[in-house]
C-alpha cells in the first residue's frame, strides 16, 4: 500500500499543512552538512534524510510523486509540470502514420482535439489507435516510427492551450 492510502479525508487538511512545514524544513537544510536526523517521542517519529552533496536522490524535483508511490505512473510524475503526456496503451511498435510514407497523424506544433488519433501502437499485427485524452498543442513527439514502447511509456506531450 502506498502511504497516501493511509490518509483518510478528515486528515487531508492536516497532511497538507504538514507538507508545507516539511517544505520549510527542507529549505532550511540546504547548505548544511546534515545527512540524517531523527527525533522520536511518544508514538511519533520524524526523520530527515538528505543525499550526500551532489548525489541526486530518486524523485528529485518531483516532491508529490516521490512522496509515496512505489510505482508512480508516468501520469502522476507528469502532474508536477504543465505538460500532458500521451501514454502507450500497451507494449508494441510505435507508428506516427497510418502506413509508411503516409502523412503523419500529428506533427509537433499541431493542435489536436480530445479523442483524435495521434499514433498507432502495433502489437502482433494489431494496429491500436492511440487517441488524445484531451485537446491541446503537440509540444513534443518522443518516438519515431518503429520504436518499441512499453506500457504507459509517454509517446508525446500535449501543452495546455490556455482555456
Amino acid at each position: 500500500m502506498s502511504e497516501s492510502e493511509t490518509s483518510t479525508n478528515p486528515d487531508q487538511e492536516f497532511i497538507r499543512s504538514v507538507w508545507e512545514e516539511a517544505r520549510d524544513l527542507i529549505k532550511r537544510l540546504e547548505g548544511s552538512t546534515v545527512q540524517r536526523f531523527s527525533v522520536e517521542a511518544g508514538g511519533t517519529k520524524i526523520e530527515i534524510e538528505r543525499a550526500a552533496a551532489g548525489a541526486s536522490a530518486p524523485g528529485a524535483g518531483q516532491p508529490v510523486a516521490a512522496a509515496s508511490m512505489p510505482a508512480a505512473t508516468a501520469e502522476e510524475i507528469a502532474a508536477s509540470d504543465d505538460r500532458h503526456p500521451i501514454l502507450a496503451p500497451l507494449v508494441g511498435t510505435f507508428y506516427g502514420a497510418s502506413q509508411p510514407g503516409a502523412k503523419p497523424f500529428v506533427e509537433e506544433g499541431d493542435f489536436v482535439d480530445e479523442g483524435q488519433t495521434v499514433a498507432i501502437v502495433e502489437a502482433m499485427k494489431l494496429m491500436n489507435h492511440v487517441k488524445a485524452g484531451r485537446s491541446g498543442r503537440v509540444s513534443e513527439i518522443l518516438c519515431k516510427d518503429g520504436d518499441w514502447v512499453e506500457f504507459e511509456q509517454p509517446i508525446m506531450y500535449l501543452e495546455a492551450t490556455g482555456e
Binding site: T6, M124, E150, F151, Q153
Partner: protein
C-alpha cells in the same frame, strides 16, 4: 543454449527462473505490471519491460504484450513459470509461430495433457494404473449405475473439464446416484461449458503422491523421485515433502518408470508432474499430469541435488538431460512450507500491505525461495504466496525439527499483513503429522480439532 530468456511470470518463481538463467550464463528479461515495478526480479534481471496494469488479464495473461516484450528485447525463449500462461497451448503455439522457444512441452502435447479424459486414456494405455471406473465419458444414468454396481460405492462423478476440486460429486448410496449424476452434468455444463462426466471409485482418505520427471527431445526421460502433498486445505497445498514415507523403494522405481514411459509415449518434453492417489493398501492411481514446473519442485531438488529449472531450460534448448536415471540418488528428507499472506484465524483470507519487517531464516540446509524484501508491498492483485521455506535433513524427524527452527526465526510483519507461519508451526507440532500418517483430509480434521479445543478451553 539460449542467449536471452524472457520470464512471463512474477513473484518467487520469476526470481527462481532468473537465478537459474544467471547461473547458466543466460541473460534474463523480466516483464512486470505497474504493481510489480519494484519487484525483486525487476531489480535482479538483466532487462525489464513494463507490460500492463495490475490486472493480470491486461499484463501477465496478455499474450500480445508478452510477445511484444520478447521481440522488443530480442529474447529467444520464454519461460512461463507456473500458473498464468504456463499451461496454455495457444500461447505456446504463438511463441513457436513468432520464432520464440516456449520452455515447456509442444502445444499438441499440452492439449492432450490438459484434457483429463484424454490424459487418463493415454496414460492407462501406457500402463499407468487408474482407479476402478471409466476412462470415457459416461453418457447415461443407467451406464453410471452399472459402473457403480461394478466397482462398488462410494463413487465420484467428475466433470471431464473440471479441476481444482470443482465439478465433483461423491455418491454414497445408490438411490441418490441418478439425481447426483444429473446435477453434476448440469454444473459441468454451467461452469466448464462441457457436460461430459466420468465415474470412478472414490477414495476417502488417500495420500497425494506425485512423480517429478523431465524429458528431453532425444527420447531421454528421468524421474526425480516423488513428493507427498497430502497436507492441503481445499485442494491448496500447504506443506510438501519428499520422498513419500509411504512408498517402498520397489514401488518408487515401478511408478517412476511407468510415469516416464507414459510421458515419453505421448512425446512429452520438458519438466512435468504425474499426480497419483495412494490408498491405504499401497495402490497408486493416476489422476492427472501437470505440464509445467510446480511450486513444490524444490523439495525434489533438495533430495536429488538436481536443479530442475536448469534441466528444464537445457532440454528446451534441445540439449540432452545432464543426468541419467542411475545418477539420481535420493538422500535424506526435504520439507517445504508455503508461507502465504493469509490470515489463518480468519478463514485464510488474503492480506496485503507493506512489509515493514522481512527477515528470512538462514543457516544450514535452509532454503528460502521468495521475492520479498523489507519494504516490498504484498499486492492484493495476485496469489498470496510470499515465500517458500525449504529445509533438508538426513531424515523426516530432523527435517521437521529444522523446519520448526527455521520458522521460529522467520520475521514478517507489516500493517495488515498476516501470514500462515503460525498455522504451519501448529501443524509441525501435531503428533499425527509427525507420525507421517497424513492423508488429504488431515488439515480439515486438524482444524476441526483445533476448533473443538478452542471451544472447550475458551
Amino acid at each position: 543454449m539460449f542467449e536471452k530468456v524472457l520470464i512471463a511470470n512474477r513473484g518467487e518463481i520469476a526470481l527462481r527462473v532468473a537465478r537459474a538463467c544467471r547461473e547458466l550464463g543466460i541473460k534474463s528479461v523480466a516483464v512486470y505490471s505497474t504493481a510489480d515495478a519494484e519487484s525483486a526480479v525487476v531489480r535482479f534481471a538483466d532487462e525489464a519491460v513494463q507490460i500492463g496494469p495490475p490486472a493480470a488479464g491486461r499484463s501477465y495473461l496478455h499474450i500480445p504484450s508478452i510477445i511484444g516484450a520478447a521481440q522488443k528485447t530480442g529474447a529467444d525463449a520464454i519461460h512461463p513459470g507456473y500458473g498464468f500462461l504456463s499451461e496454455d497451448p495457444y500461447f505456446a503455439e504463438i511463441c513457436t509461430n513468432e520464432g520464440i522457444t516456449f520452455i515447456g512441452p509442444k502445444p499438441d502435447v499440452m492439449e492432450k495433457v490438459a484434457d483429463k479424459a484424454t490424459a487418463r486414456d493415454l496414460m492407462s494405455k501406457a500402463g499407468l494404473p487408474l482407479l476402478p471406473g471409466t476412462v470415457d465419458p459416461v453418457n447415461t444414468v443407467d451406464e453410471a449405475r452399472d459402473i457403480a454396481d461394478e466397482i462398488g460405492l462410494p463413487v465420484i462423478i467428475k466433470a471431464v473439464a473440471g479441476g481444482g476440486g470443482r465439478g465433483m460429486t461423491v455418491v454414497w448410496n445408490r438411490e441418490e446416484l441418478a439425481s447426483q449424476y444429473r446435477s453434476t452434468r448440469a454444473t459441468a455444463q454451467a461452469v466448464f461449458k462441457d457436460s461430459a462426466v466420468y465415474v470412478e471409485r472414490y477414495l476417502q482418505a488417500p495420500y497425494h503422491t506425485e512423480v517429478q520427471l523431465v524429458c528431453d527431445e532425444h527420447g531421454g526421460g528421468v524421474y526425480f523421485g516423488e513428493r507427498d502433498c497430502s497436507v492441503q486445505r481445499r485442494h491448496q497445498k500447504l506443506i510438501e515433502e519428499a520422498p513419500s514415507v509411504h512408498l517402498t523403494p520397489e514401488m518408487r522405481t515401478d511408478i517412476g518408470e511407468k510415469a516416464v514411459n507414459g510421458a515419453l509415449s505421448i512425446g512429452y518434453t520438458g519438466a512435468g508432474t504425474m499426480e497419483f492417489l495412494l490408498d491405504q493398501d499401497g495402490n497408486l492411481a493416476f489422476m492427472e499430469m501437470n505440464a509445467r514446473i510446480q511450486v513444490e519442485h524444490p523439495v525434489s531438488e533438495m533430495i536429488t541435488d538436481c536443479d530442475l529449472i536448469q534441466e528444464q531450460i537445457r532440454v528446451a534448448a534441445g540439449e540432452q538431460l545432464s543426468v541419467t536415471q542411475d545418477a539420481v540418488e535420493l538422500k535424506g528428507h526435504a520439507l517445504e512450507c508455503r508461507i502465504n499472506a493469509e490470515d489463518p484465524d480468519n478463514n485464510f483470507a488474503p492480506t496485503a500491505g507493506r512489509l515493514e519487517t522481512y527477515v528470512p531464516p538462514g543457516g544450514p540446509w535452509t532454503r528460502v525461495d521468495s521475492h520479498c524484501y523489507p519494504g516490498w508491498t504484498v499486492s492484493p492483485f495476485y496469489d498470496s504466496l510470499i515465500a517458500k521455506l525449504i529445509v533438508w535433513a538426513p531424515d523426516r524427524e530432523r527435517a521437521i525439527n529444522r523446519m520448526q527452527r527455521a520458522l521460529s526465526e522467520f520475521e514478517i510483519s507489516g500493517r495488515g499483513v498476516k501470514t500462515t507461519i503460525p498455522f504451519h508451526q501448529r501443524i509441525l507440532a501435531n503428533a499425527q503429522f509427525r507420525s507421517g500418517d497424513v492423508t488429504t483430509d488431515f488439515v480439515e480434521q486438524f482444524m476441526a480439532e483445533e476448533k473443538q479445543l478452542a471451544a472447550a478451553t475458551g
